[in-house]
Symmetry: C2
Subunit: 549 residues, 2 copies
């Protein structure tokens, strides 16, 4: 079998400080330090490296940047794209991904070994992904295993999650690919172009009923959420770290093809405060709903396991299997079957891709802008504005009580009305302060979700772009006798599949976006209307209490 | 005849710098300088003084403070309360008002020579008021004639307004007291106690149609307002300085009994800007309406002259007459006839007075508080708040145009609705910014008016308090043989009249206050309701444009 390896560098620059956690084989590194990569095939977002003092340990790959060597003649590099490596998963020390050389997103990375993989190679036999694996391009996605984890429940985790499984399991030879392509789905041509095959029944689930649990005789406590899928209607319990585990699996498996939005931020401080738990639950709900809505994700084995495992044993076995799944990264494209669809025109695909790229960037700006404004508005609505209404209310009431002290008869009607008006403004103050939770909140949450989602696209699009570039080089490679015309056809077919996939994903994103923004804007405006109507009604009542003269 | 004169001091301390205007016999003085009063009987807010270099000239009395000599034994001072002065209007240089010694408001002052004036003195013959005259206690009331004046129109003013007339005319003997007591009115007992006799027909007037005029071949320009009383419905023209002249006359004549609120502030810069003219006109209207509403003011000769002079000659003659009016200051109480009403119980009156004093102080605080809050609210409503709504609107529109660029078909409904929502928030921004002019403005103006009015009360109440104190001393004076029991009875009767007057004024104030606040609150709330209803309506429309899914 083939994989793409090209000596770019084994040297890397440290981008951020990282403090090793004891007992995890980690290596502390400091920003600016140069380290030598000793094993980039660890997986799970980790690589093994050696520092200048000769100490070896694991470091998070997002914390370092490989020192890219530039080539005067790109063909020197391209030459090595068909380096053969053994099926035992051993990668030579020069086993870097050559595509990173052509990738704009140099600090990120993805495994592209499938896209241009010649015919005849059994995908099931793929031993290991070239470093780095599946879509870890966005640093916020990084949740170091073990480090600051939500107290991972050891009794459930017989496989230590701190990396190593990809390496250690690879030797066992071949992942259990139960269901195979059924785990994935087809792209279909629609009015808007390729779309995923959507199920007849739209899966959804309810995240609810957070409960505090404890272990180690009460020494450690955690929150367990009840997750009830609409299919079985049978609740299962999950802690935040289980969601996080699911996220990691989805990211690893589908990250090259589907943007997997991050989970809501971890927050260690005040973890058990009701407000925080409610907020996290709401966001986990949003995340789960989004995953449920995705036809590929929702029908995946790992997602189904998460939603409807039968018992602890089922969960444990499913978990172990998912962790051993080797159809990850770009390999996942091998399970896509754009049945009966013709190969795509690369130029057209590139243009679509570029347009989508521009679009997501522009939308990212728009969304961030809205979030900034929304934040300011939130502050105003909950801070100075209600205070001002309250002061107006107090001033009216104060004037009313001064008037009452006049000793002049026959002004009870005025003072009563003035007091009522004052109280009305105090009520309005309260309403103003509470309103953002009723409308702006959902607008902000939706935009926050989209911010996360949009942050994943550059990687997803990047994987695709790199594949296209590769195919564009194929003619040269054939001419130079580096690959056979048959290899070229295969590469082209696969790039076409990736393009179908990306377009299906674009369309999925667009239709969801239209649905989400329609819904959130309706909700926002509906609440805004209610808010202003209620204020008007309150003031109308206050007005009616003054004597008409 | 008698007047109260007591040697307090002829020395005065200069409080503020004053720059003399050429040709007006004025004297420049500097803050902190000590000057000698050479003639305090000038009137119109002016006195004659000599500086240390021997220069003599007129200075505004509010710019100086008489150096008060304290007496170890108050009776030494009280002794001289019945000093006789000639009817020729000549006042001896020690002709200071003894009551200022007992007055808390030492820098201000009022003429109290009538209150304790013994029986048999013809009020019509009163030559001159002891210095200082009628209610000049509030410095903001001071509008020095000539100094920064609204370019007083000389051709209309054959009598130089810069003081002197009181002095020069006094010798002519007796003011023309046309109408006499008809110029004033009676207090009547009502449910709430003494009230002024209100006319059957409520006078009002319209101040409108400001026109720019010019004189001196266009060198000087001014604004002339059209004032139309509801009685004649015949418009007369007046410049700001004419209003100011009227204010001075009313203050001089009625200030001891009736709080005369200041005119709107002068503002030299930007005097011809439309906004300023509109604002001044509105405030002059407010001031005139308040004056019209007062039964005593509105029926006064000078006010009637101002509203309905026939021609320029009529105006000139009326003006001259008004300026010669000697029934000013506390003398005005002599024209009040509380017919058939018994003498009041002093203790009870004092209590009422004290209550009213507390009330006006509390209301003053309340009004100022409301003004402060209103000002802040105004700033927010015209500044950051609409800017925020505008930014929200822009953000929606921006998102809409990003969405339009997606290339995805079938989202025109969303983008149109989103654009419309964005525009709606821009419209709301506009509405928010313009709203204060529609509601808060009137609330502020009314409170501003009341702030001015309340500022006049301490003086009005002070005049009364001083009279009461005087009467309380009367027993001692009788025992000491300083005054006769008959003198005491007269003093008591007159104090009683002043009390009736004050109570009538309190009641006038209260009933107007109730009317004004009822009206302004109704207006405010009505506009607020409209405002919120319109926002709700706009948002409802924006909401309806989103597709229901």
């Amino acid at each position: 079998m083939f994989t793409y390896a090209c000596l770019v560098s084994t040297q890397a620059q440290v981008l951020y400080d990282f403090a090793a956690e004891l007992g995890n084989n980690e290596l502390s590194i400091r920003e600016g330090e140069t380290i030598t990569i000793t094993n980039q095939n660890i997986g799970g977002g980790w690589i093994e490296a050696k520092n200048s003092r000769g100490e070896v340990g694991l470091v998070p790959e997002d914390y370092i940047e490989v020192i890219v060597v530039s080539f005067d003649d790109p063909s020197i590099c391209l030459k090595c794209i068909i380096n053969e490596v053994g099926t035992d998963g051993e990668v030579t020390s020069n086993g870097n991904n050559p595509w990173t050389v052509f990738d704009n997103n140099a600090s990120g990375g993805f495994s592209n070994n499938w896209a241009a993989q010649p015919e005849g190679t059994e995908t099931g036999k793929t031993s290991s992904n070239a470093w780095p694996s599946g879509g870890h391009g966005h640093p916020q996605a990084y949740q170091g295993p073990g480090a600051e984890d939500d107290e991972w429940d050891e009794e459930w985790d017989d496989v230590k999650s701190s990396g190593g499984y990809a390496e250690s399991e690879a030797g066992e030879g071949g992942a259990i690919n139960r269901g195979g392509a059924h785990d994935w789905t087809y792209t279909q041509e629609s009015q808007v172009g390729p779309v995923w095959a959507y199920p007849d029944y739209q899966l959804d689930c309810v995240v609810a009923d957070p409960k505090k649990g404890s272990k180690l005789y009460g020494l450690k406590s955690y929150i367990e959420y009840q997750v009830t899928p609409t299919t079985t209607n049978k609740p299962v319990n999950h802690r935040y770290k289980h969601f996080d585990w699911l996220y990691e699996r989805l990211l690893e498996k589908y990250g090259s093809a589907i943007p997997i939005p991050c989970l809501p931020d971890k927050q260690v401080a005040g973890r058990f405060e009701d407000e925080f738990i409610k907020m996290r639950m709401e966001r986990l709900q949003g995340w789960m709903t989004r995953m449920c809505r995705h036809p590929v994700i929702s029908s995946s084995e790992v997602f189904q396991l998460f939603l409807s495992y039968k018992d602890e044993k089922d969960w444990k076995m499913g978990k172990r299997k998912a962790e051993k799944d080797e159809t990850v990264g770009v390999m996942v494209f091998s399970t896509i079957e754009p049945e009966g669809l013709p190969d795509l025109d690369l130029i057209e695909v590139e243009q679509k891709c570029e347009q989508f790229n521009r679009f997501t960037r522009a939308m990212d700006d728009g969304v961030k802008d809205l979030l900034t404004i929304g934040n300011e508005h939130w502050k105003r609505c909950t801070g100075p504005l209600p205070k001002e209404y309250q002061r107006i209310g107090k001033a009216f009431q104060n004037l009313s009580s001064v008037f009452t002290s006049s000793g002049y008869e026959g002004e009870a009607a005025l003072t009563d009305a003035l007091t009522a008006a004052g109280k009305t403004y105090e009520e309005i103050a309260q309403m103003v302060a509470e309103q953002p939770k009723k409308d702006l909140h959902f607008l902000m949450e939706t935009n926050n979700e989209y911010k996360g989602l949009l942050g994943c696209f550059p990687d997803t699009v990047g994987v695709h772009k790199a594949a296209i570039e590769k195919v564009k080089e194929a003619d040269k490679l054939v001419a130079a006798g580096k690959i056979t015309p048959s290899d070229k056809t295969t590469m082209s077919k696969r790039a076409s599949t990736m393009s179908y996939s990306l377009q299906a994903e674009m369309n999925h994103f667009h239709s969801n976006r239209i649905y989400d923004y329609n819904r959130v804007m309706q909700q926002y405006l509906e609440q805004q209307v209610k808010f202003y109507e209620m204020i008007a009604e309150k003031l109308r009542h206050a007005h009616s209490q003054f004597t008409t003269m």
